[in-house]
């Protein structure tokens, strides 16, 4: 079983490619993401919810196009676009949306895997369907599959000190649209306290 700290290490060391986080319960997912964020060092993130709604697909396209710019002067990318291009993309698939979203992600596997890469967050039950509908991007994942439900709450002292009780607003907005409910800030604070590494 892996830890969120190992996931953060993998993302920060490779700084390219695609990692996957599977989840069943939003409580587990939130804890995994909190630990991940504590270990991401200086790597900034950009999060999107991907569903079959047109506005979500349009947002994905706009994000992807920051890594495949075709224009008169590519070096003149606006600051905001350049920032988004250079962030780790956290792409959360809405439940049961793989048939609509999978082929889009599949065709854009190259920009999505370009440095610093992306992390796909997928409901456990949807992963099979995702692989069938996005076989080419799935082939880029390989063994980089992490399961939030079985992730151990084991951290180094440094990570523990960096743990926050809330995720960035952007991620919380995405989580609100996913099934289930997030743990309260008080619950998270208790969990952080209970997960303190041994002082030895």
């Amino acid at each position: 079983m892996s830890t969120a700290e190992q996931l953060a290490f993998s993302i920060c060391t490779e700084r390219r490619g695609i990692h996957v986080v599977l989840w069943d319960d939003q409580n587990d997912l939130v804890r995994a993401l909190l630990a991940l964020f504590a270990g991401l060092d200086d790597l900034r993130t950009s999060a999107l919810l991907l569903s079959d709604q047109e506005k979500d697909l349009l947002a994905l396209r706009e994000l992807v196009e920051t890594r495949i710019e075709i224009s008169e002067d590519a070096s003149g990318l606006e600051e905001d676009r350049r920032l988004r291009r250079d962030q780790l993309w956290i792409l959360c698939l809405q439940q049961a949306s793989s048939i609509a979203v999978g082929p889009w992600l599949n065709g854009w596997r190259r920009p999505i895997s370009d440095p610093p890469g992306a992390m796909l967050v997928i409901r456990r039950a949807d992963f099979g369907s995702f692989q069938r509908n996005a076989p080419d991007i799935a082939s880029f994942i390989g063994p980089r599959i992490y399961d939030a439900s079985t992730m151990l709450s084991v951290f180094s002292k440094t990570t523990h000190e960096l743990l926050r009780t809330r995720l960035p607003d952007e991620i919380e907005a995405v989580l609100r649209r996913l099934p289930g409910t997030s743990p309260s800030e008080a619950d998270v604070a208790d969990w952080i306290k209970a997960s303190a590494p041994d002082e030895r």
Binding site: S2, G107, S113, F127, Q131, R132, D136, S139, G142
Partner: protein
């Protein structure tokens, strides 16, 4: 001090020599796997096709995901560039595009875009004939794509998907490259109803004029177009459009064409139509899968490890495990090496120990837990009868359940991927219990 993967700098150095998402190339730039030749007939067969049917070869190359098609074609491109009398253009359908449901017009625009980019290799771009050709192409494209000249400042305005796309004609070579690039991208991404439709004959003629210009510049044979990533067209209607319906258009192009094809669309219902138009596709097979019980391992696995500087940093048993469970799919093998390096580092190991390799294999097996009973029944049936590939599209793709291995006595061998075996064994056991 002895080298060790527990050292972060050493880990980064090793990871910088391995990349599972991009083709392997000779030269070994940073962030790239170095290309290693394999024992395959692919290059010989391609060279024979191209030289025996000068300017008229029409060949498909296919194979399973991650098997190394792009790496092999890129190497073939380089070998031919140095040795042959043809001008060779490498066209990349994944460059700035979305191949998933790209139709024939998108592929054509990609060819045109990449041919235009190749004109940069020539110095004589100021000669009258070239300038005239450029003007004709631009004029025809503006007409077809509905571009408008704006004001007096040499500005052109196109609308792609309702969005304005301005291009300035001050540098016409660059402007043409931009228009072709954007049009190819639009054609691949947009809904069929928003696409430009069939390519006008006049543009096919202009592409031919450009190809003729290449031929005249090198005073050689008609060019060769290597069109990669067409195999990423997964939409059945789009694949049929490119592989079957558009063949008369491809036949009009005055160049040899080597194109990758989606493996599943060269099987089953489309097999006869595809083969009647292109001949039998050339298949790239996975490299041989080593048995854990035998001590030997095909040399390519060792060479990849050596090129990454890992030869002293991997236990023999780990090497065997990773090679075995890659199923001969080189992308998987490189992914396994990358992850095993990270595992070793996190475990504080100097080298990749068997426990690190097993952890990586375990992680990769997660992808196989989601096979449906229908897929497992199919895998069971195919592995038993060694036939029925046409219905097994999902088993040939990620996660690969079925490996189509190099033929031993005529037909390709169908092997269950080592990572799929435990899921299949569980299914077979349950089936036996149900019948008992």
């Amino acid at each position: 001090m002895p080298r060790s993967l527990s050292d972060l700098q050493q880990l980064r150095t090793a990871l910088g020599r391995l990349n599972a998402e991009r083709r392997a190339e000779l030269g070994g730039r940073e962030d790239q796997t170095r290309y290693e030749p394999r024992a395959s007939e692919l290059h010989k067969r391609l060279a024979l096709e191209v030289t025996s049917r000068r300017g008229k070869a029409r060949t498909l190359v296919t194979g399973q995901i991650g098997v190394g098609k792009s790496s092999e074609l890129w190497q073939f491109f380089h070998d031919q560039k140095n040795a042959s009398e043809e001008f060779i253009v490498y066209c990349d359908l994944e460059q700035q595009e979305h191949p998933e449901r790209c139709g024939a017009t998108g592929v054509f625009l990609t060819i045109f875009r990449d041919c235009w980019t190749e004109t940069q290799r020539f110095k004589r771009r100021s000669e009258r004939k070239f300038l005239q050709l450029r003007e004709e192409i631009l004029t025809r494209l503006i007409d077809w794509l509905g571009g408008e000249r704006v004001g007096k400042d040499n500005k052109l305005l196109f609308k792609f998907g309702g969005m304005d796309f301005p291009v300035f004609l001050n540098e016409p070579n660059k402007a043409l490259a931009l228009v072709l690039g954007k049009a190819a991208q639009h054609e691949a991404v947009s809904e069929p109803s928003d696409r430009f439709g069939l390519v006008p004959d006049s543009l096919v003629n202009l592409l031919n004029n450009l190809l003729d210009w290449f031929t005249s510049q090198i005073r050689g044979q008609a060019p060769l177009l290597i069109i990669d990533h067409v195999d990423k067209i997964r939409d059945a209607a789009a694949a049929e459009d490119v592989l079957i319906k558009a063949v008369p258009h491809w036949n009009r192009i005055r160049a040899s064409i080597v194109m990758t094809a989606p493996f599943e669309h060269t099987l089953g219902d489309l097999r006869h139509s595809v083969e009647s138009k292109w001949g039998r596709p050339i298949m790239l097979y996975p490299v041989p899968i080593p048995e854990l019980s035998s001590g030997s391992i095909p040399p390519i696995y060792l060479k990849i490890v050596k090129n990454a500087g890992l030869d002293a940093l991997i236990h023999q048993e780990s090497l065997h495990l990773l090679a075995r469970y890659s199923g001969g799919i080189l992308r998987s093998y490189v992914q396994f090496l990358i992850d095993a390096c990270k595992e070793a580092h996190l475990a504080g190991h100097r080298r990749i120990e068997p426990s690190d390799a097993r952890k990586v294999i375990q992680d990769a097996e997660i992808a196989y837990q989601d096979y449906t009973t229908t897929e497992l029944a199919l895998l069971d049936e195919i592995s038993d009868k060694e036939t029925g590939l046409g219905e097994a599209a999902t088993l040939l793709r990620s996660p690969i359940g079925l490996v189509v291995a190099e033929p031993k006595d005529g037909d390709p061998e169908l092997l269950v991927h080592p990572l799929a075996r435990s899921a299949l064994a569980k299914y077979q056991l349950k089936k036996q219990k149900a019948f008992a």
